[in-house]
């Protein structure tokens, strides 16, 4: 094991950068940067959790954004009902996520392959429509949340810097947790079941219950991201769990690299930074090429992103992490 590799340097640099964002933001007065990176860090948690089941467990869930929504709605509805203590909100949000993961996972994991992809997608869509029908909590328009989670005065989430570091610490915690899990006996079973489930069974592992447990853990981790996301936005709406959001999470994991714990973090940063900057890049390049103002071109960044995904699929299956380590999958 070598520790000084290109990959590790990039990862270390990224983590240091993430740790310094609030300091830079506060000093330069560029608050937009901090808002952007708070969001990136939160979605990175979601992507890391998805990668636990998808990258390591081979369970391609196309409904992971459901947990962002469930976490957010449990927090939001409680805040609306006047229960503002994070000590109650957060565990309850995770418990509801666990329950949802347990029920839908128990059903979905009876199936394989494409069925699994479609079923997780369908269950997420179900929750999406439930949220749409919740008139009491804003229905289609979403729910504005007036109070962030209160932690008995110990942590003040309305302070942006504090909030950022809570998110960042959660991300580090999530990465560490997944890293421990992946290298534990439990993680061996999960990865074995991805590689050859039939053989795992014949060796003596009842893989279903291990996979289901893993599915629940990932759901809860993503639920935490959902609570944070709704706290940041002071808002939650069904759009948070639209199936294209689940697609975004998959893109982050694959773009970053599913082979490692940290890959999805790289993917989250890359995708969301790209999303912010690609419109500018397009208009600048377009302007230079045509000599005309290409301000309108900004809107069409997805024209570039879409085919880019296809190219990643075809030529860079190991994602960014794979490129950095020289490992290529597929």
């Amino acid at each position: 094991m070598r520790f000084v590799t290109v990959r590790n340097i990039v990862v270390a640099a990224l983590l240091i950068f993430l740790a310094l964002v609030p300091i830079y933001s506060t000093m330069s007065g560029n608050m937009f940067l901090m808002t952007l990176f708070t969001r990136i860090v939160i979605l990175a948690i979601a992507a890391v959790s998805l990668n636990l089941i998808m990258g390591f467990g081979g369970m391609v869930s196309f409904g992971h954004a459901a947990y962002l929504g469930i976490g957010g709605y449990v927090f939001g509805s409680m805040a609306t009902e006047g229960i503002t203590s994070g000590f109650i909100q957060w565990p309850l949000a995770l418990a509801v996520c666990a329950l949802f993961a347990l029920i839908t996972g128990a059903l979905s994991l009876r199936t394989r392959g494409v069925y699994f992809i479609m079923i997780t997608l369908a269950f997420a869509q179900m929750i999406y429509y439930v949220a749409v029908s919740l008139d009491k909590y804003g229905g289609d328009d979403g729910l504005t949340i007036y109070t962030r989670s209160q932690f008995a005065g110990l942590i003040d989430l309305s302070n942006r810097v504090v909030f950022y570091y809570v998110c960042f610490a959660s991300l580090l915690g999530a990465i560490y947790l997944v890293w421990r899990i992946v290298n534990s006996r439990f993680g061996m079973v999960i990865q074995g079941a991805r590689s050859n489930d039939r053989r795992m069974q014949s060796i003596g592992f009842p893989t279903y219950r291990y996979r289901l447990t893993c599915f629940v853990i990932a759901g809860m981790m993503c639920g935490l991201a959902g609570v944070l996301l709704a706290n940041q936005a002071d808002f939650i709406s069904p759009a948070t769990m639209h199936w294209t959001r689940s697609g975004d999470l998959i893109v982050m994991a694959v773009l970053g690299g599913m082979g490692s714990v940290i890959g999805p973090v790289l993917g989250a940063v890359a995708l969301l930074v790209l999303e912010e900057t690609l419109p500018h890049i397009i208009s600048v390049i377009g302007g230079a090429l045509t000599g005309q103002s290409m301000a309108a071109a900004r809107e069409y960044w997805a024209l570039v992103l879409g085919p880019m995904l296809l190219l990643v699929v075809l030529f860079a299956r190991g994602g960014i992490d794979g490129i950095l380590t020289g490992r290529h999958r597929g």
Binding site: R180, I181, N183, S184, R185, F186, G187, M188, V189, Q191, G192, S195, N196, R198, R199, M200, Q201, S202, I203, G204, F205, P206, T207, Y210, T213
Partner: protein
């Protein structure tokens, strides 16, 4: 036959119109190597599948150590001590050889709901796994990714995983499938070793090997047992000759 370790009582299995197992009665006693022979498509793999718990028989019962295991799923049977190998290699291709065997060791240590401790360097896992690799002569290949190993090595690894599973009975499905003559004779030597330690139900196409190793032979044709007995009896059996041994040359082309 009260002393049989594995006892199969009249199992039958159909796939649509094909009768793959037709009221099969067999048993394996402690200390014995019981070989199953029969032409391709006779239902040997299907039989192993039902014994290991991957396929459910349509009727009949399977007893292991006196306990009716017919309704038990594969993992439970493995935990009881039934270890199988696969005719068509079924390994963890993207893992290292050692990791493959480590996975086979792991269920011996109880459940795997251990989320925290690092399993990569656990002596309780690694040491038995290395020992099993050594048994089959693969210890020097421990760190190689399985996808990059040869077919012969895959067959050896299959065997190592079965042993590492701490079995009380081995179900081996054509361990010599696809091996060259030299590799085959090494495998025979290995099986002779294993036979001293474990009762074995061996499905094999290689007649020479079967007659060299088996204490008892059962002949399966179209899912039916047409003969069963010690090697000399089977060799002398006219029906077996007609149905099977006589046309060996044709039957073994696609071995």
């Amino acid at each position: 036959m009260a002393d049989a370790l594995l006892k199969v009582e009249g199992i039958s299995k159909r796939f649509g119109g094909v009768v793959a197992s037709d009221n099969i009665h067999i048993d394996v006693r402690p200390g014995e190597l019981h070989a199953i022979i029969g032409p391709n498509g006779a239902g040997k793999t299907t039989l192993i599948g039902q014994l290991a718990g991957e396929l459910a028989p349509d009727s009949g019962h399977i007893y292991f150590d006196g306990q009716d295991i017919t309704a038990q799923p594969a993992p439970v049977r493995a935990a009881l001590g039934l270890a199988r190998s696969f005719q068509i290699t079924s390994l963890f291709l993207d893992f290292k050889a050692l990791t493959n065997v480590v996975l086979a060791v792991q269920p011996n240590l109880g459940h795997s709901f251990h989320f925290w401790a690092d399993a990569r360097n656990e002596p309780a896992l690694i040491e038995p796994a290395l020992a099993a690799l050594k048994r089959v002569g693969l210890e020097h290949r421990a760190a190689v990714t399985v996808a990059n190993m040869s077919h012969g090595e895959h067959r050896q690894l299959e065997l190592a995983m079965a042993i590492a599973n701490r079995p009380r009975l081995l179900l081996l499905d054509e361990p010599m499938a696809g091996l060259g003559p030299e590799e085959s004779s090494r495998m025979v030597a290995m099986l002779r070793e294993l036979k001293r330690e474990y009762p074995i139900l061996l499905v094999e196409h290689d007649m020479e090997a079967v007659f060299a190793l088996a204490d008892r032979i059962t002949v399966l044709v179209y899912g039916r047992v047409i003969a069963s007995g010690d090697p000399a009896t089977i060799r002398a059996n006219a029906e077996v000759r007609d149905a099977y041994l006589g046309e060996q040359d044709e039957e073994f082309v696609d071995g």
